[in-house]
């Protein structure tokens, strides 16, 4: 196994991260008192956060190889399915993001969730296991099991603790993502037979598959991941899910779940199907650019805060897919950074909306106005994250978006110019939103007496503020982890197939879309 560096910490590091939340859930099952349930859930998630820190300190950024690998332990031996977990630079950051955000989600649900607390906390902790599992699985079946199993707690979180239209949103979310995932299942099985009857992801990456085969597999992967990202035009479930989900659900959805689609592209499409990746690149670039501009444009028109942030997510995730598929170091590293940044910033924005909602029970922008006066701390926080969201230099998002645009400009100038529009629009909708919510006179008399953020709420936000500036001023903190992995990834894509194949799809598609695709080339 020359591609693996086995875990040598003396204990099963990654398995531990998967098991701790489950153990916490088991404890919850025996508790009745709500306050105790909250405390136990919080402690569990904090223990998991601490348990994930060795990953940060002992990770060797100089190699692309999978690290902390455990296994392969036979799981279903006759089908050659194993329990194998490990991380590289890409998944490491995602795992840390997950372990950081789970305690924050529990913190923000402390008072907001007052019915069926036990069920909610259990669902959150099971979600954590599922999310970490997706990022650390090195066996395709294991990956798939986590990928789909995660739908169940998320469905329940939206459907049980969500807003008035929660059932519709939950079912839409579930069916949409399930349909995509099931295609992934068939593609995964096809890959198993083509790749020599193995589900081992690293082995599959090193296989060579005929282009026609890659085309179909990519199509199935694309459906699954594009729905999850969500990429235009598969994004329609997202605003519904965000609006109806409770705050913690929105945070998890925006910060971690959306990243799984992008992670899927990076983990499977690029290295396993390089040929098809190049074929589909123009199409995906087109979708990404449309997502950036369309998402921003839609955000401009929203009167509901959560919808506004949801559409801004579509726009921001457009940058991520754009960066991934321009296929150079700047683009991919920028995309990865953007993934983390979006997790921090949008997560925080959803937290802030939730905190305002807890006080006024409204998400409508029109119901606010001038609330920076009664809530100065809230005003400061919202301003910081709003600036981060629009990509102000000095904040985290600037670095990510800048790298993505730089990477895009190097290979696809026209595309980069259009994508930049998204940044400008972001400034418009974000600043406008901040102005309408925070500044000016207090428009509604009942808002004058709003209580400012308390200690618990500040505790949830401060770590994210620190990250906003830390990453903003010193992005090497995260980029260090990425260089080796991204470099290797690019080698895998560019070595296998000649780039001239990019034109294939443009040739297949006729009409205005075809012309547009040709223009991109």
């Amino acid at each position: 196994m020359e591609n693996f560096i086995l875990n040598d910490l003396g204990y099963p590091q990654l398995t531990l991260l998967l098991v701790i939340p489950l153990i916490g859930t088991m404890f919850l099952a025996f508790l009745r008192d709500r306050e105790k349930i909250r405390v136990v859930a919080m402690v569990t998630s904090l223990v998991n956060l601490v348990a994930s820190l060795p990953l940060f300190f002992y990770f060797d950024p100089s190699t692309y190889k999978m690290q902390f690998v455990e296994g392969p332990y036979p799981w279903i031996a006759t089908l050659n399915i194993h329990y194998t977990v490990g991380v590289d630079g890409i998944s490491l950051l995602m795992v840390l993001l997950t372990t950081l955000l789970t305690p924050i989600c529990i913190l923000c649900s402390w008072r907001a969730i007052d019915k069926k607390v036990k069920g909610f906390m259990s669902a959150l902790l099971i979600m954590e296991t599922g999310m970490i599992g997706v990022f650390v699985a090195l066996d395709f079946v294991l990956f798939y099991v986590f990928w789909e199993a995660m739908l169940i707690p998320m469905y329940l979180i939206i459907g049980i603790w969500g807003g008035p239209n929660r059932i519709y949103a939950a079912v839409k979310f579930f069916l949409y993502t399930l349909a995509g995932s099931l295609l992934l299942l068939v593609a995964m099985i096809a890959l198993y037979f083509a790749g020599g009857k193995t589900f081992d992801i690293v082995t599959l990456m090193n296989g060579h598959y005929p282009p026609a085969f890659q085309f179909w597999i990519f199509l199935a992967f694309f459906m699954a991941f594009a729905i999850k990202v969500p990429m235009f035009p598969f994004h329609t479930w997202l605003p519904d899910a965000h609006v109806e989900a409770p705050t913690a659900g929105s945070v998890i959805l925006a910060s971690v779940l959306l990243k799984m689609g992008a992670y899927g592209f990076l983990r499977f499409c690029l290295p396993v199907l390089p040929h098809a990746t190049l074929t589909f690149t123009p199409l995906i670039l087109a979708f990404s650019v449309i997502a950036i501009v369309y998402g921003a444009y839609m955000a401009l028109a929203q009167s509901d805060l959560k919808k506004l942030i949801a559409y801004s997510s579509v726009s921001h995730m457009g940058f991520v897919t754009l960066g991934i598929f321009v296929m150079n170091v700047q683009g991919i590293e920028g995309a990865l950074l953007q993934m983390i940044n979006h997790g921090i910033t949008t997560g925080a924005l959803f937290l802030l909306v939730g905190m305002a909602y807890d006080r006024t029970h409204s998400r409508m922008i029109a119901d606010y106005g001038g609330i920076a006066r009664p809530m100065p701390r809230y005003g400061a926080m919202l301003t910081i994250f709003a600036f981060s969201s629009l990509g102000l230099p000095g904040t985290n998002s600037f670095v990510g978006e800048f790298l993505v645009l730089l990477g895009t400009f190097m290979t696809h100038r026209g595309t980069a110019v259009i994508a930049t529009l998204g940044v400008i629009l972001a400034a418009v909708y974000v600043l406008w939103m901040v102005q309408r919510v925070l500044f000016g006179p207090v428009t509604k008399p009942e808002n004058a007496g709003l209580a400012d953020l308390g200690m618990r709420e500040m505790a949830a936000l401060v770590p994210l503020v620190v990250l906003v500036f830390w990453v903003g001023f010193y992005p090497m903190l995260l980029l260090n982890f990425l260089h080796a992995t991204v470099g290797h990834l690019l080698e895998q894509v560019t070595a296998v197939a000649p780039p001239s194949l990019t034109e294939q799809l443009a040739d297949r598609v006729t009409g205005p879309l075809g012309n547009y695709l040709k223009g991109l080339l």
Partner: protein, 486 residues
């Protein structure tokens, strides 16, 4: 000459029939408050038969001059039947008390039906198969009408009887054509005959259309028993009208045994002409999945919904039959075994809600169950997600293997159709979860709990989750028990 030694090899079947007769004899002497004794008696019979089969597990014999086969394949299905019957006994104990059909014959018919299905899966001759099929069908006709004071139940019985005998007739007609062509009804001899003629290219056309007609007739006969579209018409009405434990029994045992025979007959007798029937069965499989899943969405009665869901599952299972290679066979066996547990579990919860009449049959009766009875709601959720095929439940393992077989046989498009319908099916399974968890309960829900039912449910859920996480042993066992194929 009658081979006395062979008797020992059919001991499990003999035991069940003897116990059934004993129940009939004992029944008048058991006071009506003590009928549970007969249930325990039946459980003992099943356990004893299971133990005997376990002792015979490695045997691979054709007994009674090839009329009867004792092979690992049939033993696998016999275990499935014991498990299903034992579950049904546990599900019935309280139910038949509430429905006032608490009479001993119920258990006797249950055991005889089980024996009949065992004869079916072990049949080495079309005549034996037919015999077993009729034996269990007649028991089912009676059991379906057991709530004789209720119109729906008697209607179910009559409907099942008329359509059932009609389809048996069609099956018999197919068998007679095969006999006319080959001069035998023995599976092995038939298989050798058609294999020989398939190598001789002149021979097949000389059958004219007769071989095709026989295949179609057999497909109709078995298709009726497994509830494949378009021979499914009886299913919703019979499932709705029959006593709920019997519905559960029908949906798992009868389906599994019929699939076992379907597979054995088609792979051994028609093994050499697979191309001829594969196309028919592909069409059947697709329309079965499609219609089952789509119509299930519109149901308001949970028994009807589960009826359509069971039609849909027949469609998935049929993919294994269509593929017909090693992977296909074991995936079908695995599918039926897993389906047994998850479907019995789901019916168990339905029975839990039934306190006489039609209470607990409307999907709206599940409203807010999670609030009043969180444990049972959780169990139902697991069964629903398993039926929808989501990991980490057993239902995922079942579907995963079936789709794997399809992709391996270059039928990836069939697998794609399968997953599309699977996504559609999630909608109606999810609906149950939704009404249980996301709606407020309208009134008080009183459950008809009993220790037997709770035990059955807990075992079912444990198995569904355990197989979902550690499917290895069951897959290994199914693989060792597949039919020998050429």
């Amino acid at each position: 000459m009658f081979p006395m030694a062979d008797i020992w090899l059919i001991l499990p079947e003999i035991l069940l029939v003897l116990y059934a007769c004993a129940i009939l004899l004992l029944e008048p002497f058991v006071p009506s408050s003590q009928k549970a004794i007969l249930a325990y008696f039946s459980l003992a019979a099943l356990a004893l038969a299971g133990f005997t089969s376990f002792r015979l597990i490695h045997l691979d014999y054709a007994v009674f001059s090839g009329m009867y086969l004792l092979d690992p394949y049939s033993t696998f299905f016999k275990f499935l039947l014991y498990i299903a019957s034992a579950f049904v006994v546990l599900l019935s104990m309280n139910y038949i008390k509430i429905e006032k059909i608490n009479i001993g014959e119920y258990y006797a018919f249950l055991l005889i039906a089980t024996a009949g299905m065992m004869v079916m899966v072990s049949g080495g001759d079309l005549i034996t198969i037919y015999l077993g099929l009729e034996l269990n069908s007649i028991c089912f006709y009676v059991l379906a009408g057991f709530k004789r004071y209720e119109e729906r139940s008697t209607e179910a019985s009559a409907k099942y009887f008329i359509l059932g005998s009609f389809s048996s007739g069609i099956l018999l007609y197919g068998i007679s054509i095969l006999y006319g062509l080959a001069g035998t009804t023995n599976l092995k001899e038939l298989s050798a005959f058609f294999a020989a003629s398939s190598t001789n290219s002149a021979a097949i056309p000389s059958f004219g259309g007769a071989l095709t007609v026989a295949m179609v007739l057999l497909t109709v006969g078995f298709g009726f028993k497994v509830a494949a579209v378009p021979f499914h018409m009886w299913t919703p009405d019979v499932y709705e009208g029959a006593p709920t434990p019997i519905t559960a029994f029908l949906s798992v045992s009868s389906k599994a045994a019929s699939f076992a025979v379907f597979l054995r007959v088609f792979l051994s007798v028609f093994g050499g002409v697979q191309q001829d029937w594969q196309a028919i069965l592909i069409v059947l499989s697709v329309v079965t999945m499609g219609l089952g899943n789509l119509v299930a969405i519109a149901q308001e009665n949970i028994k009807r919904m589960l009826a359509y869901s069971s039609i849909a599952h027949a469609g998935y299972a049929m993919i294994g039959l269509v593929v017909g290679d090693k992977l296909g066979i074991y995936s079908l066996m695995l599918y039926l075994m897993i389906y047994t547990f998850m479907n019995l579990g789901a019916f168990g919860i339905v029975i839990l809600l039934q306190r006489g009449g039609i209470s607990g049959e409307a999907i709206s009766d599940f409203t807010g169950l999670a609030k009043k009875h969180p444990l049972y709601a959780l169990l139902m959720m697991v069964f629903m997600f398993s039926l929808a095929g989501l990991p980490p439940t057993a239902g995922f393992v079942a579907k995963f293997n079936v789709f794997m077989a399809a992709v391996n046989a270059h039928l990836a498009w069939l697998a794609v159709l399968g997953v599309v319908f699977s996504a559609i099916s999630a909608y109606f399974y999810l609906r149950i979860v939704m009404v249980m968890y996301m709606k407020e309960p309208a009134g008080e829900t009183v459950l008809a709990t009993s220790p037997a039912l709770s035990i059955a449910l807990l075992v079912a859920v444990a198995v569904v989750v355990l197989i979902g996480i550690f499917p290895g042993p069951l897959i290994d066992y199914a693989q060792t028990a597949i039919l020998p194929i050429r």
